[in-house]
C-alpha cells in the first residue's frame, strides 16, 4: 500500500495531488504528517510542498472544473476527517474528466462524499459565527473556540468585516492556533495555552447583563431543553458566556 505524506498545509496537499497525477501513482491515501501512523504494510513517501506544483493544481481546478470545486476541496481539507486526502483525489480525478458538471453528479459516491463533508464544515462555520463569544480584556476582544473542524480561517474574514474597529483574537484551543486582528488585517498564528491572556482581568459588566437577558427571554411555559440541545449542541456550551 502506498501513502503520500505531506506537511499539513493546503499547498502540501495540492502538491501531493500533483505528484499522484503526474507520476501516475495512485496512493491509497494522502495524509498530513501529524496524523500519519506508520505500519508495516504501507510504504509512505513524503511529498515536499512545492508552490509551483500546488499553483498548477489550483489553477487547473479553477480553469478546468470550477471555483465551487476548489471551495469543496478546501473545506474537505480543513475537515481533517480520516480519508479526506483520498476523497479529494478521487473527486478531482472525476472532476478533471467531467469538467464543470462534476457537481451535478449528486449520486456519484465520490461527489456525494465531498458534498457531505463540505456541508458539515459549512454548517459548523455558520453555527460558530453565532456561537463565538468575545471577552473583553483591556483593548482586546478575545474568543476561545474548540470547533470540530479547522475553521478559524473561515471565521476571521467575517469578523474583520464586522468588528473592524476593535482588536480581536480568535483562539482555537484544540489546534493551538489563533487569528489575530489589529483593525487593519488578520493573521493566523501559532498559539498554545500560554497565549491565553489573563482572563481574570476581563470586563464582566456586560457578561452579567447578557446572562440576565438570557435567563429572562425564555418563556417558562414553553420550556424545551430537547429542542434547545438539538439546535445548540452541548459540546459548544463550554465557551458560551451565558452557559458558564
Amino acid at each position: 500500500m502506498n501513502i503520500f505524506i505531506y506537511d499539513g498545509s493546503f499547498e502540501g496537499l495540492l502538491t501531493a495531488v500533483f505528484e499522484a497525477f503526474y507520476r501516475r501513482i495512485n496512493p491509497e491515501d494522502i495524509v498530513p504528517q501529524e496524523r500519519y501512523q506508520p505500519d508495516l504494510l504501507t510504504t509512505a513517501s513524503f511529498i515536499e510542498a512545492c508552490p509551483e506544483k500546488a499553483d498548477r493544481v489550483y489553477n487547473s481546478i479553477l480553469e478546468k472544473i470550477s471555483k465551487q470545486t476548489l471551495q469543496y476541496v478546501y473545506y474537505v481539507y480543513i475537515s481533517e476527517e480520516a480519508g479526506s486526502g483520498r476523497y479529494i483525489l478521487d473527486y478531482l480525478r472525476l472532476g478533471w474528466r467531467l469538467g464543470y458538471s462534476v457537481n451535478q453528479h449528486l449520486l456519484d459516491p465520490r461527489v456525494l462524499k465531498i458534498h457531505q463533508i463540505s456541508k458539515r464544515v459549512t454548517v459548523e462555520k455558520h453555527r460558530m459565527l453565532g456561537l463565538l463569544r468575545f471577552q473583553r480584556i483591556g483593548e482586546l476582544y478575545y474568543a476561545e473556540i474548540e470547533p470540530d473542524y479547522n475553521i478559524v480561517g473561515l471565521l476571521a474574514p467575517h469578523f474583520s468585516e464586522r468588528m473592524s474597529d476593535q482588536n480581536w483574537m480568535i483562539h482555537d484551543l484544540k489546534r493551538e492556533i489563533a487569528a489575530l486582528y489589529n483593525q487593519q488585517e488578520w493573521v493566523l498564528i501559532d498559539a498554545d495555552r500560554e497565549g491565553i491572556p489573563n482572563l481574570e482581568a476581563r470586563e464582566t459588566t456586560y457578561e452579567e447583563l447578557w446572562k440576565a437577558y438570557y435567563r429572562h427571554i425564555a418563556i417558562p411555559e414553553r420550556k424545551n431543553p430537547k429542542l434547545q440541545k438539538r439546535c445548540m449542541p452541548v459540546r459548544y456550551w463550554k465557551h458560551l458566556t451565558e452557559k458558564k
Binding site: 458538471s101 451535478q104 453528479h105 449528486l106 449520486l107 456525494l112 459549512t122 454548517v123 455558520h126 453555527r127 459565527l129 453565532g130 456561537l131 463565538l132 463569544r133 468575545f134 471577552q135 473583553r136 476582544y141 474568543a143 469578523f159 468585516e161 464586522r162 468588528m163 473592524s164 474597529d165 476593535q166 456586560y206 457578561e207 452579567e208 447583563l209 447578557w210 440576565a212 437577558y213 438570557y214 429572562h216 427571554i217 425564555a218 418563556i219 417558562p220 411555559e221 414553553r222 420550556k223 424545551n224 431543553p225 430537547k226 429542542l227 434547545q228 438539538r230 439546535c231 445548540m232 458560551l240 458566556t241 451565558e242
Partner: protein
C-alpha cells in the same frame, strides 16, 4: 433603577414576541463603523424554550396606557415597570454586539403616554445607534399603531425590518380583547410602509445612492388560540397579507395563558402543536406554491393535528399521484410529501446526469418513508400499499411519542424538507 433590573423587566416583557429573525438585509459596514448584516441571518444562542436568540429583543418600556386583555403589560395588571433611555439601549446593543452575543436590536414598546411619544423614543434610539454609534448591524423596530406615519417613515430609513402586529386574527377579536386598537390603525401603516418599500426599490434601480427603506421588509405576528378563529381563517389572512402587503413573514404565537380574564379561554398549555401546523402551512404558501384554499377548503376547517398539512393535502388529492421522479416538473415534485425545496432541486440537477433510481433518492435527501407512497422511479412503484387514502393515512400519521415537546417554531425533522436553499443554514438552526 439599576440597568440590570431594567433589562430583566423589559426582556421579560418582550419575550412573548415571536420574531427574532435577522435575515433579509445585506447592510454593509462602513469605514470607522461597527457591524453589518448577514443576508441569511445568524442565530447566536438558544434559550431554554428552544427558541433562537438572534437579536436583543427588548421593550423600550412596559408602561402602557392600553388594556389588552391577553397582555402582561396591560395597564390594569400589577407588574413591575421600567423604562430605558435611548442611550442605555444603544449602549447595551453595541456592547452585546461587540462581544458577538447578538446580530442587532429588535426594539418594541408598550404604549407609554401616547403612540406618537412612544414612536419618537424608538426613533431616537435607532437614530442614535446609526448616527452617533455608527452601528451597521441589524435593527428591527416595531411601528406603533396609531403613531403619526411621518415618525414611522422616518424610522424606516434607519432600520432593516419593521413590523406592525396584527395581534388577533379578526376584527371582532380585536374589539373584544384589545379595545383601544383598531384594525385600521394596524392595516394602514402596513400599507403605507409597503408602498414606501416598493417605491424605494424602484428608485434604487435608477439612483444607486437612494437611501434604503426597511430593506429586509415587514413582518407581523398574531396570537393563536386566544380567540375562536379557525386555522382556515388564519391562513387565508396570512395569504392576504403576503399578497397585499408583500410581507416577509407572518409569525404565529401560541397563546400562553397568563390571566384568568373571563374573556380569554382557560388552557392548560399553549397550543404549540397547532402553532406548528400553522407554520408548516405558512411555508407551503410561501415556498411551495400552495394556496390557502387548497390546504383547507372551508372557512371553518382546522388542520389535522396528527398529519402535516402537505401530507393531508396529498391524501385528499390522490388523483395527482403517483408522480414519476424522472419526469415530473419541479412544481409537482414540491407537492410530494417527503420532498422539500432542497431535494426537489437536487432531483432536477441529478436527473440531468442520468436516471434516478429509488436507492438514489435517499442520498439526495428525500424522506422515503413518506415519499414512497406517492412516487414512481422509472415507472416502478415501491410501496407495498396501494394508493388508498385510508390505508395511507394510517401509515403516515405522526407517531405520538415523536411529536409534542420537540416541535419548535420550525422543526428540522419534518421540515428539512421545507428548507429554501439559501436559507438552509439558519433554518437548520432554528428560527430565521
Amino acid at each position: 433603577m439599576e440597568l440590570q433590573d431594567k433589562l430583566k423587566i423589559l426582556s421579560d416583557a418582550a419575550k412573548y414576541d415571536v420574531s427574532c429573525s435577522s435575515s433579509g438585509s445585506s447592510r454593509k459596514n462602513k469605514a470607522g463603523g461597527i457591524g453589518n448584516a448577514a443576508e441569511s441571518g445568524i442565530c447566536h444562542s438558544w434559550s431554554e424554550d428552544g427558541r433562537c436568540i438572534s437579536l436583543l429583543k427588548i421593550l423600550y418600556t412596559n408602561y402602557c396606557v392600553y388594556d389588552c386583555a391577553y397582555c402582561l403589560n396591560r395597564i390594569s395588571n400589577d407588574v413591575p415597570r421600567a423604562e430605558f433611555t435611548p442611550k442605555e439601549l444603544a449602549d447595551l446593543t453595541i456592547n452585546f454586539y461587540r462581544r458577538n452575543y447578538i446580530e442587532g436590536l429588535f426594539l418594541s414598546s408598550a404604549i407609554v403616554k401616547n403612540p406618537d411619544y412612544t414612536m419618537e423614543q424608538l426613533l431616537d434610539t435607532v437614530k442614535l445607534l446609526r448616527e452617533l454609534y455608527r452601528f451597521n448591524g441589524y435593527i428591527h423596530v416595531k411601528a406603533i399603531p396609531g403613531a403619526d406615519y411621518r415618525l414611522i417613515s422616518e424610522a424606516g430609513k434607519y432600520v432593516d425590518r419593521m413590523s406592525v402586529n396584527i395581534e388577533l386574527p379578526s376584527n371582532d377579536s380585536l374589539k373584544l380583547l384589545a379595545p383601544q386598537k383598531r384594525k385600521e390603525q394596524i392595516i394602514r401603516p402596513m400599507g403605507l410602509i409597503n408602498t414606501e418599500i416598493q417605491q424605494t426599490k424602484e428608485e434604487k434601480k435608477l439612483f444607486r445612492h437612494k437611501p434604503s427603506f426597511v430593506p429586509a421588509g415587514q413582518s407581523t405576528q398574531l396570537i393563536v388560540g386566544a380567540t375562536p378563529e379557525s386555522d382556515s381563517k388564519i391562513i387565508r389572512l396570512s395569504e392576504n397579507l403576503y399578497q397585499r402587503f408583500s410581507l416577509k413573514r407572518v409569525y404565529y404565537s401560541a397563546y400562553v395563558p397568563i390571566t384568568n380574564n373571563p374573556r380569554l379561554p382557560t388552557l392548560q398549555h399553549p397550543p404549540t402543536m397547532r402553532e406548528h401546523r400553522l407554520y408548516q402551512a405558512d411555508w407551503l404558501l410561501r415556498f411551495y406554491g400552495f394556496s390557502a384554499g387548497e390546504l383547507l377548503q372551508n372557512e371553518d376547517d382546522n388542520f389535522d393535528i396528527q398529519l402535516d398539512p402537505k401530507t393531508d393535502w396529498a391524501l385528499k388529492s390522490l388523483q395527482h399521484f403517483p408522480v414519476e421522479i424522472n419526469k415530473a416538473p419541479y412544481e409537482m415534485l414540491l407537492r410530494v410529501p417527503g420532498i422539500g425545496v432542497q431535494s426537489a432541486n437536487r432531483i432536477i440537477i441529478a436527473r440531468r446526469t442520468g436516471p434516478i433510481h429509488f436507492e438514489g433518492l435517499k442520498k439526495i435527501g428525500v424522506v422515503l418513508k413518506r415519499a414512497k407512497y406517492f412516487i414512481t422511479c422509472q415507472g416502478k412503484y415501491f410501496s407495498e400499499l396501494s394508493l388508498d387514502s385510508q390505508l395511507l393515512r394510517q401509515s403516515l400519521l405522526d407517531s405520538p411519542q415523536k411529536k409534542g415537546p420537540l416541535y419548535g417554531q420550525i422543526s428540522i425533522f419534518d421540515t428539512t424538507a421545507l428548507i429554501k436553499p439559501e436559507e438552509q443554514y439558519s433554518k437548520i438552526f432554528g428560527e430565521l
